[in-house]
Amino acid sequence: MLEPDPNYFSSFVCSGEIFELKAELNSDKKEKKKEAVKKVIASMTVGKDVSALFPDVVNCMQTDNLELKKLVYLYLMNYAKSQPDMAIMAVNTFVKDCEDPNPLIRALAVRTMGCIRVDKITEYLCEPLRKCLKDEDPYVRKTAAVCVAKLHDINAQLVEDQGFLDTLKDLISDSNPMVVANAVAALSEIAESHPNSNLMDLNPQTINKLLTALNECTEWGQIFILDCLANYTPRDDRESQSICERVTPRLSHANSAVVLSAVKVLMKFMEMLPKDLDYYGTLLKKLAPPLVTLLSAEPELQYVALRNINLIVQRRPEILKHEMKVFFVKYNDPIYVKLEKLDIMIRLASQANIAQVLAELKEYATEVDVDFVRKAVRAIGRCAIKVEQSAERCVSTLLDLIQTKVNYVVQEAIVVIKDIFRKYPNKYESVIATLCENLDSLDEPEARAAMIWIVGEYAERIDNADELLESFLEGFHDESTQVQLQLLTAIVKLFLKKPTETQELVQQVLSLATQDSDNPDLRDRGYIYWRLLSTDPVAAKEVVLAEKPLISEETDLIEPTLLEELICHIGTLASVYHKPPSAFVEGSRGVQHKRLPGSTGLGESLESPDTGSAAGGSDAPPAVIPSQGDLLGDLLNLDLTPPATTGPPPPPTSGMQLGAMDLLGGGLDSLVFFLFLSPRVQLGGDLGGSSMGAGFGAAPAASPASFSAPVSGGLDDLFDLGGGVGMPMGAYNPPKTVWLPAMKGKGLEISGTFARRAGIIQMEMTLINKAMSVMTDFAIQFNRNSFGIAPAGPLQVLTPLSPNQTIEVALPLNTVGPVMKMDPLNNLQVAVKNNIDVFYFSCQYPISVLFVEDGKMERQVFLATWKDIPNDNESQFQIKDCHLNSDAASSKLQGSNIFTIAKRTVDGQDMLYQSMKLTNSIWVLAELRVQAGNPTYTVSIPLRLKEKKAH
């Protein structure tokens, strides 16, 4: 037992003292020795270097005195790393202690050995550890379980070679709940650094054992077990319900981490319960009180709870809809709690409670903390946009706040009023006069831009609009880009509305923007306006003063697939950051993306293929496709050399290839599109802007007729216009190719293709059993991919596949799966399972299957978007030898959901303007130039793509 000690802090370790301590450590008197070790430990704790005493301290280790032993162990753990040779001296004592009749000493020895991170020692650790894992005393077993995790951290290979992982798995079935909990904890930690291994093999039996242990182990053990349970996918709703029933009591635990982990399990398994089930409603009711209780805990706990509640209310707003009041802010809450509460208040705001919410928000807007006040003012605006009935009250509240003349309040109010105008046009414009009074006090770019937008948009109702805008123009070059752009647009709007009085003003701003500015965005916009105004003022009016789309209600919702993933990670760091773990957890390259189980999930769980082995097991992608990185690099530098020179030379032609080419109408240069969808986390990065960054690259690939072309799946064949004469109209579908040769599939051969039929993407496969035995139990899973393609249902292979039998399967797909950028972009990694094994292969789908039916852009929008894209972002390439006229080409393309928006004929050239929309709502615009008699088509694709036009 450790005894109280005098203050060792006052002692300062100098060389003389080291000497003194050395003498004391070697003293014959036990008591003196102990005191000396205590002094050493005290110095060590505060960071003083007492490593010189290593041999002397280790000499004290061989003692029956448990207290002294513990102190020496403490010292050893700290300094063994720096003195590995010396540490070896201690090994014998450790090994001896592992045999001690006292379980406390056995456990202590094995525990300490695991903490000594020296390779030489770990070798000696294996035997004692093996014994301790099977010790008769549960205390020793539970300590040994943790020790396996320690050892794995130091030397993972050793742990695997020694079979400790299997022993650890056996411990999940241990009779003592504490041992079970520690085994689960250790396995979870190992699994995290070791994603390939199928460590947590969860089946109904183990789940049952975990649930039993859950009731009896310590609070910390409960957390580990619950987190582990959350990874399990129940077979059906019955099992799901029974697990939920056994987990619900944990909601009443005093430890908030236990509560939140239980919430995670329930939120996840609830997905599988039918909504009309009574139990479903009961469960929803049971979830609210514990979440509310979390908010009465310490502020740090509140913060984490609030971040999680934010996710929960987005997924299931019904749980907390009556609990608005608990999110009301107290003035002495820490700021981080205040801001989170505010966020949730807005999410819960509805017609029923809006009066209360507004009253609160108004109260907050007079608080002291600037950040909080700003957010409160913004919140009022968001309420107005979210709850239409409250808009009027919100606007009047905002006006009251503007009257306070508090600078930052006024500015925030103006920014949100602009959004309110966008949502409810022609309703609240009467307040403009009040806004204009505050023009001079605006000093933040966002507020200035908002005010300028308002003045420009409503120029006809503001008598002195020209004066107001002119006043901004004086310091044009000192403004931020945001304000400059807005000012330019506003003055052009003003000019179009009142052309007579403002000619001078518009010229001034155009020349400022085009001649005196270094900013390309501003310059380009200036030129566009200038040209537009000088060539066709009517068109200019149509474009600039076009009716704007209404803004959406909630702009800050987390994207559904991400939300689903985050719900699976409730209570973790991911849930605090609202980012998937792969986005920030170091060394988590293999972290498997979790998804909520659907009520119609795969009949049986199929381990999702991990990236590594899937890639390894797949055919290497055709080498002729240049790597994505290179393309991107080029794109970002806007260094678009003609595609003909960047690409690798075409492969040597073969007889077969020639034949195929003839079949298709001969000699096409092909082009491959790469769409690069920047992952959300990188948003706002290189490609800039709030729009979904998207880049395009083009390079010649192999001839489309060569065997690999359909697999490489670009748009090449889509533009295969030449051979279209004899073909039926409809979407382009590449022929089937072999994805999984029988050699790799243990006799199963899979060939397939992708098609879009009646608006649904289908994966059409031919399965051939070339083995000697019957194949059954087929299932399929996709790895994450660039467009979130996922099976919409299970793989329907109803009858067993007997030897030499062939079966055709069509698997409908959807695009709501998790997204990850692939290389090449249209690469899809697939895992197919049957009774024999799991097989991995990768295939590539033609981008054209992703073009959706409503990809026809409004003419106006098309025009505006097209004009908005700077010329120099355009990339061009040519398709040779196409013998179709423009109309035939257009109708053929339409079959693949590439729509012709407009056609123009200039100098005998037909220009087709086309739009297509991808499943992830990215628009692609293209211009196709066809010269009669010339078999060469020119395709121009502008580089900037927008998901939605901002203003």
Binding site: E3, Y303, V326, Y577, E586
Partner: protein, 418 residues
């Protein structure tokens, strides 16, 4: 799991560090200091921070930061709960949780941390179990040990660690067997200018002090358990019995512990014991303001309101106050700008009043907001939710224990907006 722990005082010195895995350099704390700098107020430092290689999860307790370093994805609540538990244990061992006391007992602290976590996994966090392994310092014992030069080293396994009831140590013996329960309720409320309740709820706890010999099995039942729909229990409480019979059945830990906490939500009607009539105003011209506060009883269920205290955080420009109170004393802290009025008992016949003028910095603009009033109060022998214990039964042991229940209502975060 938890990798390392740093203890940092409020000036930003790291005075203790403990690593459960490999050693992580102190420099990792720089990210924390940066955030601390930005937050100005130590209470406002975000509890979860993200650095390129680690996560920092911290709590702020007793002017100390407990900062833990994490390398893999773990539940931050688990870490925060654990850190609070460490602080609780220090409090329990040393009577307070401060830099001085931790430095004085550094070896015990170090040994405690070693016992509480193994490789980042919690090992023993129950104070009962820890005290069996590491004895808390007492003056008497240190005197005895210095005189005799000996120490009683128990090298037996702490029984609690292995049994199914880890919270109770074996072989407990008392000559006086007693079990006391305190039902303590705190009212959290926000009352607006006009006196209407914006929000009110009750946070209740039952604190127990049980000193009983052997392995007693207790059953505590309530007159009106229906009130309790949102509860959290100490692990010792058998949840099934609660679900089916609405009684608390448990084998108690030895000594002081929190048996349960509960929450009576804002949807139930919460009685507000006092009302506050107030008028705080700042004049547009001239550097002065007026303050007038009267407190009266509202729903006290016939009990005496005591320990009444009013705290007001004044705007920065209020330089001094010139107030007179009909009862109690008031002080104004010039640097922190906090006005405290210690009222004492509330006499319904003669309502306490505080009034007078506030003088402000000349030339300063009128404050944008009025300060909120924070209330403190106590009502003995009343649980404001109406909760009542009906009886306590003991099985498993033969003796007759002394039993007692006390009730107390306090103000929690009770705010009146002005």
């Amino acid at each position: 799991m938890i990798h390392s722990l740093f203890l940092i005082n409020h000036t930003g010195d790291i005075f203790l560090e403990k690593h459960w895995k490999s050693v992580i350099s102190r420099s990792v704390c720089d990210y924390f200091f940066e955030a601390k700098e930005k937050a100005e107020d130590p209470e406002n430092v975000p509890p979860v921070l993200y650095t390129p290689h680690h996560y920092l999860v911290s709590i702020y307790r007793g002017k100390l930061f407990f900062l833990s370093v994490i390398q893999t994805e773990v539940s931050p609540l688990f870490v925060i709960e654990f850190l609070h538990r460490v602080a609780d244990i220090f409090q329990d061992y040393f009577g307070e949780c401060s830099e001085a006391v931790i430095k004085d007992n550094v070896v015990i602290v170090y040994a405690l941390l070693e016992e509480m976590l193994d490789n980042g996994f919690p090992l023993a966090t129950e104070s009962n179990v820890l005290k069996e392994m590491i004895r808390p310092p007492t003056i008497l014992r240190s005197v005895v040990n210095t005189l005799t030069g000996g120490s009683n080293v128990g090298d037996t396994l702490p029984a609690g660690q292995l049994s199914n009831i880890p919270w109770r140590r074996a072989g407990v013996k008392y000559t006086n067997n007693e079990a006391y329960f305190d039902v303590i309720e705190e009212i959290d409320a926000i009352v607006d200018k006009s006196g209407t309740t914006v929000f009110a709820e009750i946070q209740g706890v039952i604190e127990a002090c049980v000193r009983l010999t052997g392995m007693p099995d207790l059953t505590l039942s309530f007159m009106n358990p229906r009130l309790l729909d949102d509860v959290s229990f100490h692990p010792c409480v058998r949840f099934k019995r609660w679900e089916s019979e609405r009684v608390l059945s448990f084998i108690p830990p030895d000594g002081n512990f929190r048996l349960m906490s509960y929450h009576v939500s804002s949807q139930n009607l919460v009685a507000i014991p006092v009302y506050v009539k107030q008028n705080i105003s700042f004049l547009e011209t001239g550097a002065c303001g007026r303050l007038d506060i009267t407190i009266g009883p509202k729903q006290t269920m016939g009990k005496m309101v005591e320990g009444l205290k009013v705290t007001i955080h004044m705007p920065k420009m209020v330089l001094s106050v010139n107030l007179t109170a009909t009862q109690g004393t008031h002080t104004y802290d010039l640097t922190a700008k906090v006005l405290v009025w210690d009222v004492g008992k509330l006499n319904p016949q003669k309502l306490p009043n505080l009034r007078g003028s506030l003088s402000m910095q000349s030339g300063a603009p009128k404050p944008e907001d009025n300060p909120s009033i924070n209330m403190d109060l106590k009502i003995q022998q009343l649980a404001i939710s109406g909760l009542k214990v009906s009886r306590l039964d003991m099985h498993g042991e033969k003796y007759k224990p002394f039993k007692g229940v006390k009730y107390l209502t306090k103000a929690g975060k009770f705010q009146v907006r002005t």
